[in-house]
């Protein structure tokens, strides 16, 4: 009889833990979002003003020697302009004045620099089958800027003191270090998901099928791009399959109607 009570205790113990586990899995999804605590770190706790961010952006563009893509053919420039216009017209209440730059480089890459500066490599344009796919990538990069991921990344990696020193001093060595950080460090998976989500919402508002994002990821997978050999875009964007899934499962609102981007994409690519 005494020994039986030992095993009854064991059942109680295991049952207790199982109940907590299963209870969480079953009940937690039922709790309305407004009652759930926000586990994410308060990103605005330490940050810098938009003006300061733009100043950093200018430093980096200078260090990179990036200027408006004067060397590229007008067809490419105006092609990109059509795409960015489509997106920016649906972007309400933004703090940034977006600038897009095309860099002549075969890598499949796009980067968000501080201050709403978005850099697209020609390799990415060449890989894309449709202008909608480019739009998806651009919207993703806009998402990084709108969520202030770049600033967060800089502050996390270098510290607020360092970032402020760059803004006030503009020392060449500091700028170099900062630029390296922007290029080489990666966004967290959470940040990538946020940017993806932002991208799909912006695409929907811009009357572009959000599945364009999945199409682009698929294209990258199909081309069998070696992740390690590519630059930041690919390195910091792991787990393409789950992101493809998220993009394909994105539910557009009722009455959504996609409107193709009016652009002869083959002509744009031919001009590259």
């Amino acid at each position: 009889m005494n020994r039986v009570s030992i095993w009854i205790d064991l059942v109680k113990l295991l049952g207790g833990f199982a109940a907590i586990w299963v209870g969480y899995v079953l009940l937690w999804p039922m709790v309305p979002d407004e009652f759930k605590p926000d586990w994410t770190l308060d990103e605005d706790l330490v940050t810098i003003s938009i003006e300061d961010e733009e100043a950093i952006g200018d430093f980096i563009l200078e260090a990179f020697e990036i200027e408006q893509s004067e060397v590229l053919p007008a067809a490419v420039d105006s092609g990109l302009w059509v795409i960015e216009n489509r997106l920016l017209s649906q972007l309400d209440a933004t703090d940034y004045e977006y600038n897009f730059y095309i860099v002549d480089n075969p890598a499949v890459n796009a980067m968000t620099f501080p201050g709403g500066n978005i850099v697209v490599f020609t390799g990415l344009l060449e890989l894309s089958d449709t202008p909608e796919q480019v739009a998806a990538v651009l919207a993703h990069e806009i998402g990084h800027a709108e969520h202030r991921h770049v600033v967060d990344k800089l502050i996390t990696e270098l510290g607020i003191t360092f970032v402020m020193a760059v803004i006030t001093g503009g020392d060449a060595n500091l700028i170099h270090e900062l630029t390296q950080t922007v290029i080489s460090s990666v966004f967290s998976r959470n940040q990538e998901q946020e940017a993806d989500q932002f991208s799909m919402e912006l695409l929907e508002r811009s009357q572009i099928d959000p599945r364009a994002l999945a199409a682009f990821f698929r294209k990258m997978n199909r081309e069998n791009l070696d992740y390690a050999d590519e630059l930041e875009w690919v390195m910091s964007h792991p787990h393409n399959n789950s992101r493809i899934k998220a993009s394909l499962e994105y539910e557009v609102g009722e009455g959504f109607e996609s409107k193709p981007i009016d652009l002869d994409w083959d002509a744009v690519k031919a001009a590259l």
Partner: protein, 179 residues
């Protein structure tokens, strides 16, 4: 006193031996019994990233000390047994976490989050109850965890336990009867 109401103490028919009372337990034994809980904390803290050292230390402590007395045996066994599931749960968490980091199909889903909560709870309970037990052991008292307490009691104080303890070893008989 609560202990005196325990029917097992004086009951000859009981399958269990009477429990030692606080005034019968020497200081040294109490300290060793307390050490069983406290030592495992130190080992747990030192091996946090890879929870294996704590288990090795716990097993060694157990085998070194268990023959000293039934009181020490009980407390170190309870400490060891209660540590096993906690450690296995921590291993599971580590494994799951590594899988999420390396394998695309594994994600931070609710199953994982629920498991994290269960593991945290297990560790917190383990720490709290070990501290309570350590204090009790130092006072020469028994302290029973849910399940592990009863199991340890059954293994140590059962009359079927054949382990020979130092204090209970009979002195070689010098005076012998004539026939």
């Amino acid at each position: 006193m609560e202990e005196q109401k325990n029917p097992l103490i004086e009951n000859v028919n009981s399958p269990y031996l009477p429990l030692p009372q606080p005034d019968e337990i020497p200081e040294r034994e109490r300290e060793d019994a307390m050490g069983a809980y406290l030592m495992m904390f130190a080992a747990l803290a030192s091996s946090l990233p890879l929870p294996i050292i704590n288990l090795i230390a716990a097993v060694i402590y157990y085998y070194v000390n268990r023959r000293k007395s039934r009181f020490i045996h009980f407390h170190s066994l309870q400490s060891l047994l209660s540590q096993l599931p906690t450690t296995f749960m921590n291993w599971g968490l580590l494994y799951w976490f590594i899988m999420i980091w390396t394998k695309e199909a594994w994600t931070y889903d609710d199953y994982f989050k629920g498991y994290v909560i269960a593991v945290i709870l297990a560790n917190v309970l383990y720490i709290i109850f070990s501290l309570l037990a350590a204090v009790r052991a130092r006072k020469g008292r028994m302290y029973y965890f849910l399940f592990f307490g009863k199991l340890s009691y059954d293994m140590v104080f059962s009359k079927s336990n054949t382990l020979v303890y130092k204090g209970e070893r009979e002195a070689p008989a010098k005076n012998k009867p004539p026939f």
